[in-house]
Symmetry: C2
Subunit: 869 residues, 2 copies
């Protein structure tokens, strides 16, 4: 028989899959001797059994819960059924992976009309009834789906009628409120169960069900958490932070989650329950203030925090409650943190000899690295910017965008291609989809640990919370801030690192690499097997790539060399040439431009290798389609507009992606490729004379057949040899390789390897051809595919291992069989994707190549792939 | 040391690769004891060695040739050097595969100014000088590229000047002509060598070189003959058909090459050499006339013809020469024949117990079968047609087209999409490219064995030769025929089976399957393993498919059901629907149409299986793009034209081939597929009630991922089950399968097999994606690819075994691993290609499916694949 229920002392941190993160932690903390309120955990397996089949609860779980309650009564010497020494419990969800706020919680379970009176007698009327109100409200919301605000409204109505605050209600008046709450249940055709056991059963079932609510599903998709895991449910005896001024509740990080500073960082509220802190309704006090208010409690908190951090070897996020001066630890977990903090904490832990360098490398996620190189506002522009208000710097980064007030509007605007900033009084889990699409999030209430702050940091989205200067009217869609009035669509700029909000748009720049990042990445390089190159071609990008530590250039596209204003005219002249003379004239002009380009490109990368891809796009991409532009071109070329127009039309293709491009152009009109290699070697020879030896790596695109490669290679070599001769220099080494970006190229990779010095996989095109998807047209069905879970990951972002990956694997094995030590790289989009990199390491790729800003993350990812392999 | 030269008696028919077809035949005939003029063969290997390296001739071949000449002198008791008992030889090309007229020949080699005089003394002046003239003319043409006509002109000039025919020239006058010929050599900066040995050397080298002339290359490409084989050269002692009225030359087929009738068929010319027959300059007499003229010679010819046919077990095409009543067999080969004749001869040979049924199946090429089902003119239309003229029925079939007079014009018109008929006085090997693109070929001169006739039969192109009623003026591009004058671009109709030419266009229909074909195909079916299905969807095509013996329908496309005038309006209404009501209205209309369609389709195929593919093309294909049509549509739908126009624009895609089509449509808008299966099952249920059980096979197109198939399959099954319920009938068996047409589908074929009842490979799309070629755009580079020999075969016509074939093989093996007995077919273009079928047999495909007219050939091809495997 399966065991569905574990008391905290019977579990351990290893049982995370079964008990959930929270349950495993409660077990671990209990076993560490921390003051944890006793309780038990119902397993994740029970949840999935129940979600599969309702009857599981009745048939298998019910009796075990009743037994556990009996045991809990014994442990706490309290009772769940009679009215003396009341046992109240919390019912909390807790999945194996943290999903903060995504699922449901009910507190104060066990109260009813009778027991609340006894509870009031034992404590006080206001507290006891407040607990009961909360129970009714949460129960109504979680179990029956009655909107919480309706309860709040009823309270406000009664407060108004009685003209006093709830805290001042007499017991009869409290009962009046309870009655109105019950009436609300009744209006929804349900009844609040008076039997605590029945309350518990319903609450447990509701929490189970919350695994499948919409926002939880969206969260799981965003964080790639499988849907079949289920949540555990933790039943824990209640302690009350709202039982007077010697009581309270708080959330504390053992180190600063924004900066990483090794100093307690957190907040607490006196006379409050945990929900008050997280929801951000009241603005809490910093943890350090507790030292003054309750010095002994503070002291023991420090002690426990140290025990926890030492035990978990990581910064902890601790929830605690003080009941009449007695400290209870409710929860601890590895604290979420900013990228900057993550890096500092990890490096500090290495310095403190708490973890090794390898452990450090595995702890930082490549996404974190991405966040470190997020943009900040240009300082110069900032001096002239109009500061609107200042809030808490909840998540770093900088962004400008149009104000929206709801998650729906955020999504709507985003679909129109607009950049939005979500501004709210406070966010709640219902807002998650809107938060994902926003450039930045601003809330007028809440602290650094509020929902908005935690979620934004997790997503790496810039966020400011508690910006109380803003009066946010969500219904009328206006913000009043002093004399300024902003409406939906107005543009603001948000600095998540400083907490400043500015009017209008401000340009951003990227932060300098800080020393911690350099240190971590140097460790990464020491532990990596795959090399990281960059996809870059402009001088600026080549320089950025070098600064970010690229070991070379994996893909340098030459298209830009044809697209400058002067150049495109020559390219157009060449394509439309009516005679040899005109063609040669244009070709020579282009040669002059390009040999200068290559000279500076080679200089920018110095002795590092650079793969230069020959011209790839179809000819029609070089032409305008607008009548005025065509007329202008005709005049420049001294032609009739109608002739030019006809020629351009002839270049059109039904499926340009599958058309006359890549090496097909090279074969039908060899002189363009010949001009390109001539430009490359002219500049390489010039550099050689200046003392810089470069080994040009020329890449032929879109090869599907060995004869294509052979044909192009033959005439390239001829041109190269001729160029050496013309310059009267001794030939130096060079390489001619090919892009593998068509399924057929993968299948005949052995044949291609015969004629290639290197391979580079172009995963973008390869993915398009393998799936038969055009990236330009995929928009018409991809959303439907995601909704219907036909495609969970975008194959253009993360390698499709089963399809495209198999083809690549086959090609690598065929190529290596033919030419064992051939250099093989990945230069498509997924080359910089940390989720794809381990696959590339496993199949024996030599390097990945990605855009310059993705290099730091990729350097870490290749190290992690190696450490894990 | 290699042996470069073989005397005829030293070779055998097995040495075809080395000695060429002609050389091997001469050897074989010699060994059979036939009267073959003695000689020797220089091997194909020598040819390739020489073409690789000129010096091979000097270094390795020369001495061997000299030795062989010595031996030949001994054998013939004639001499090549002195002037008594003159040895003259012919030098003929002869490759392993017959390439009629493609390469060069020189006759009468060994004559010079001195020897011609001796020769004249031994025979007569007119004959001897005629031989010498011919030698000079052919030598000038073949060795030095001097146009033959220039020699003919010189003859005509001198005939005019002397006012008599060449035959009547005195020896001095003949010498005058020789001098003018020599002058022509001189004007071309060359000299005719007087030394017979030098003549021989130059002639041999020229014949070697002719392997690489343009028309030979084109011919090899057309007939898929590799370029690296080379030609052998046959040196044979001359016999003279032009040595008087007891001499002659002829070409005879042992059976009728047009009808297959078992009766000698051929022609001869008295006092002529072989070239006169082939070139068709004089119209020859039927072979039977020889019985009267030279009865003994005729008798021995009959004898030898029988020996040859018995030996080769096939109809022979025999060239012979009679020298003063003595018969010499110059050449024999399996005779080219019409498709009809090929079939009759083969079946007769089986009836005669000469060959087995299996041998018969292997003898007929599938192309022959194609020719048998070529169109003929509609008899009814013919009664009203205007007969222009009648010629020889040289190659069967019927076609209409515009008249052109040159091969260049034929190619030019064909590029414009026009159908052309090439009309010439006579054709020559230079015309080959123009003949390929013509619907029919008509010549005013020449017989059934003229160049035009032989080539047209080989290509299966309809052809009439010797139509002397036509006066063809090639320069002025006119035909005069009685009172009728025709010019370029005028339309005529040509019946190659009757020899009739009609004015204007005449509709064609397809011949009835004749009994011989039925017999052969029934043997084919008995010997086949692969089944042959048809790609068909219209009732007419389905019926044709059944008549041609399809075992089922492998691909029934449903697009046509949306494209009828009434239907397309509903489809457009559906796509542009502004509300549910409108959508449902259109959908119901379509359902009504389509269930009727399917009813008749099922009836047409009766109990045979039929795979129905659900809608495949992208939505925009259903819309007009012309403004007037859009306006009309807007009016029909009661919309603003600008709105309709905008909606249509939104449907446009950058790469429609890779866009929102196939199952992607099915997933984003399931109701269209649901309507389709509803229509299928409504009609299947109706037929079941009428007593015809059908097992619908529904095929989902463009699947790349198992979830796609799963998603579509789930909702299809739901609809199907609902349809059974609605009709209150017990469910009957049905299948849901998928098209494998994307590279990824091949790679994950095992996963797809889990969810599919059958597979069908769509090789057209699969080829496009595997190569990254769009069939619509390939025209921009494919010619260049063929020219540069990058791609020898069109992968859309013949399976690309190395690429696409490998993917299919992989997919079949994965699918069979998952589901051993799954039905797997090929429904793309290459499914009907005889060159691709053996591959499909080898990898374990169950059936191929092709267009109805390709079925008979495919039935033969699958039998051949099986017999050869």
């Amino acid at each position: 028989m399966s065991k569905w229920i574990y008391f905290f002392e019977d579990g351990s941190s290893k049982d995370k899959d079964l008990l959930g993160g929270k349950g495993a932690n409660l077990a671990e903390m209990t076993n560490l001797g921390l003051p944890v309120p006793p309780g038990f955990t119902i397993t994740t397996k029970s949840c999935m059994n129940f979600l599969d089949k309702d009857s599981f609860f009745e048939e298998s779980l019910k009796q075990d819960i009743l037994k556990a309650i009996k045991k809990l009564e014994k442990k706490t010497s309290k009772s769940f059924t009679d009215s003396s020494s009341l046992l109240l419990v919390s019912v909390r969800s807790g999945a194996a992976s943290s999903m903060p706020g995504m699922m449901d919680t009910i507190l104060n379970l066990g109260l009813n009309d009778t027991r609340v009176h006894s509870f009031a007698t034992l404590t006080n009327i206001s507290f006891a009834y407040d607990c009961y109100h909360r129970l009714l409200q949460m129960f109504g919301d979680v179990v029956y789906g009655i909107n919480k605000d309706k309860f709040t409204n009823l309270t406000q109505i009664l407060e108004k009628r009685l003209n006093k605050k709830k805290q001042a209600f007499s017991e009869d008046e409290q009962k009046l409120l309870i009655d109105s709450y019950k009436k609300l249940f009744f209006e929804n055709n349900v009844e609040f169960p008076q039997d605590p056991v029945e309350q518990l059963f319903e609450a447990i079932k509701a929490v189970f069900k919350s695994w499948n609510n919409q926002r939880a599903k969206v969260y799981r998709e965003l964080h790639h958490i499988p849907h079949h895991l289920g949540t555990a449910v933790n039943i824990q005896s209640m302690v009350f932070g709202n039982s007077g001024n010697k009581s309270g509740t708080g959330v504390v990080f053992t180190r600063n989650p924004a900066t990483g500073e090794n100093k307690l960082f957190g907040e607490f509220l006196i006379n409050a329950q945990g929900e008050d802190v997280v929801a951000g309704i009241r603005t809490p006090e910093p943890i350090q203030s507790l030292q003054t208010i309750l010095p002994d409690t503070y002291k023991s908190f420090i002690e426990y925090a140290e025990i926890l951090e030492q035990h978990y070897k990581d910064m902890q996020d601790i929830e605690f409650t003080i009941e009449n001066g007695q400290l209870f630890i409710l929860q601890t977990r590895n604290g979420k943190r900013t990228a900057k903090a993550a890096l500092k904490i990890t490096l500090d832990l290495v310095a403190e000899n708490s973890i090794s360098r390898q452990e450090a490398l595995l702890r930082i996620s490549p996404t974190t690295i991405d966040q470190l190189i997020h943009p900040v506002f240009d300082e110069k522009e900032l001096t002239q910017a109009t500061l609107l208000a200042k809030g808490l710097p909840a998540s770093p980064g900088a962004a400008s965008g149009e104000i929206v007030f709801t998650a729906e509007k955020a999504k709507e605007y985003q679909l129109l291609g607009k950049k939005v900033i979500l501004v709210r009084q406070e966010t709640s889990p219902e807002d998650i989809e809107g938060m994902i699409v926003s450039e930045a999030i601003v809330t007028s209430r809440g602290g650094m640990t509020s929902h908005a702050a935690v979620v934004a940091r997790g997503m790496g989205t810039c966020c400011i919370t508690g910006c109380e200067a803003l009066v946010v009217h969500e219904e009328s869609k206006t913000i009043i801030c002093g004399n300024t009035r902003l409406v939906e669509g107005d543009v603001i700029s948000v600095d998540g690192s400083s907490g400043c909000i500015y009017l209008g748009e401000i340009p951003t720049i990227v932060v300098e690499n800080d020393q911690n990042l350099q240190t971590l990445l140097s460790w990464a390089d020491e532990n990596a097997q795959l090399l990281v190159r960059a996809n870059a071609e402009t001088i600026a990008d080549l320089q950025t790539a070098m600064e970010f530590g690229a070991t070379g250039i994996g893909l340098s596209r030459t298209e830009h060399m044809f697209f400058g204003e002067e150049r495109v005219l020559e390219m157009r002249r060449l394509i439309l040439a009516e005679n040899e003379q005109e063609f040669e004239f244009a070709l020579n002009k282009l040669l002059t431009f390009q040999q200068e380009d290559f000279y500076h490109m080679f200089k920018a990368v110095q002795d590092k290798p650079m793969v230069i891809r020959l011209l790839d796009p179809p000819m029609h991409e070089f032409f305008p389609h607008d009548t005025n532009e065509i007329n202008a071109l005709a005049e420049q070329l001294n032609r009739y507009p109608s002739d030019v127009s006809k020629q351009i039309e002839k270049l059109q293709e039904t499926n340009p992606m599958l058309g006359h491009r890549g090496c097909r152009l090279g074969i039908t009109e060899p002189r363009i490729y010949q001009m390109q290699v001539k430009a490359i070697f002219n500049s390489a020879i010039r550099l050689a004379k200046e003392g810089l030896s470069v080994c040009p790596e020329v890449m032929v695109p879109l090869v599907s057949e060995k004869n294509e490669l052979k044909n192009v290679k033959d005439f390239l070599i001829e041109t190269i040899e001729q160029t050496f001769k013309e310059h009267q220099v001794d030939p130096f080494p060079y390489e001619i390789g090919t892009m593998i970006e068509l399924p057929r190229a993968c299948i005949i990779a052995d044949q291609l390897a015969e004629n290639a010095d290197f391979f580079s996989f172009g995963t973008n095109d390869l993915t398009q051809m393998t799936f038969g998807f055009s990236r330009d047209d995929i928009g018409k069905f991809i959303n439907s595919y995601k909704e219907k879970e036909i495609m969970v990951q975008d194959p253009f972002q993360t390698l499709d291992k089963a399809g495209v990956g198999e083809l690549i694997k086959l090609a690598v094995s065929k190529a290596r069989h033919q030419k064992k030590n051939m250099m093989i790289g990945i230069c498509g989009e997924v080359g910089g994707d940390p989720n794809s990199i381990p696959f590339f390491q496993n199949i024996g790729i030599d390097y990945v190549s990605c855009s310059p800003y993705r290099i730091p993350a990729a350097r870490l990812a290749v190290a992690q792939a190696n450490l894990k392999s």
